[in-house]
């Protein structure tokens, strides 16, 4: 299973998560988002970039409540809330946003 982008083949698992997160690009993120039915805005990118930075530092995709807490700390109360994240990523922020960010599925996320 693979995504096709500019003639390049990018492998993913049965749920659509990238096999090699080193292959992630912003163009690919746009394709992944489209598959999820999401139109990427600056707010979406803010969360996706945050997740990528988190993964880069800790080598794990954060659980949703950890993501909320971290966003609250860096971006304030309004953005650090479940409600805000679900507005951006209706089918589960950890799941959808992580997939778009090219990260593995968060540990413990079913």
């Amino acid at each position: 299973m693979a995504y096709e982008l500019n003639g390049q083949t990018i492998e993913h698992d049965e749920e659509g998560y990238l096999t090699d997160l080193g292959q992630w690009t912003e163009d690919l993120a746009a394709i992944l988002a489209k598959d999820e039915g999401i139109e990427m805005t600056d707010e979406h990118w803010e969360v996706v970039n945050f997740l990528r930075e988190y993964y880069d530092e800790y080598q794990i995709a954060p659980a949703i409540r950890v993501l909320v807490k971290a966003l609250k700390k860096t971006m304030g109360k309004e953005k650090g809330s479940n409600k805000y994240l679900y507005t951006l990523f209706p089918y589960g922020p950890a799941k959808q946003a992580c997939k778009i960010a090219g990260l593995p599925k968060p540990t413990g996320c079913i």
Partner: protein
């Protein structure tokens, strides 16, 4: 109304990080289990103390270096990592050889506080005796 009972959960780590899958699996269980709002602590003893050694670089062995994830434990409200002094000494290690792990106290203006507590074997023994659930890896 049902009273929520908080149990004391201890994850005991006794294996070195890369020779077997135990250490990584234990860490994943801790991260998953953190969602259940229990009183969680970790113990590192025997070869488990090698998991916390600073400066791990797995590029040459084609295995993921999962040690940075220990730095995320504070975000998961896992703030008690007991490391056995005797196990360190037997392996020629001192606390200075370990990663500096901290957690941020939200109630104290995000002040950084150390997560690692060096304890003697006897102290660890009594901490173990105090637990409701012990999971050994």
């Amino acid at each position: 109304m049902q009273e929520e009972t908080i149990k004391k959960f201890m994850y005991m780590n006794r294996k070195a990080p890369y020779g077997t899958i135990y250490a990584l699996e234990a860490l994943e269980v801790v991260l998953i289990g953190a969602a259940f709002d229990q009183d969680v602590s970790l113990a590192f003893l025997d070869d488990g103390v090698f998991q916390l050694v600073e400066g791990q670089d797995t590029d040459g062995i084609g295995v993921k270096n999962f040690s940075p994830a220990f730095r995320a434990l504070g975000d998961y409200d896992v703030t008690k990592l007991f490391v056995e002094k005797e196990s360190l000494e037997e392996r020629g290690l001192s606390p200075d050889d370990l990663m500096e792990l901290v957690w941020e106290d939200e109630d104290d203006d995000w002040a950084e506080k150390p997560s690692i507590r060096i304890v003697t074997r006897d102290e660890l023994k009594s901490i173990l005796g105090d637990q409701d659930v012990i999971l050994s890896f």
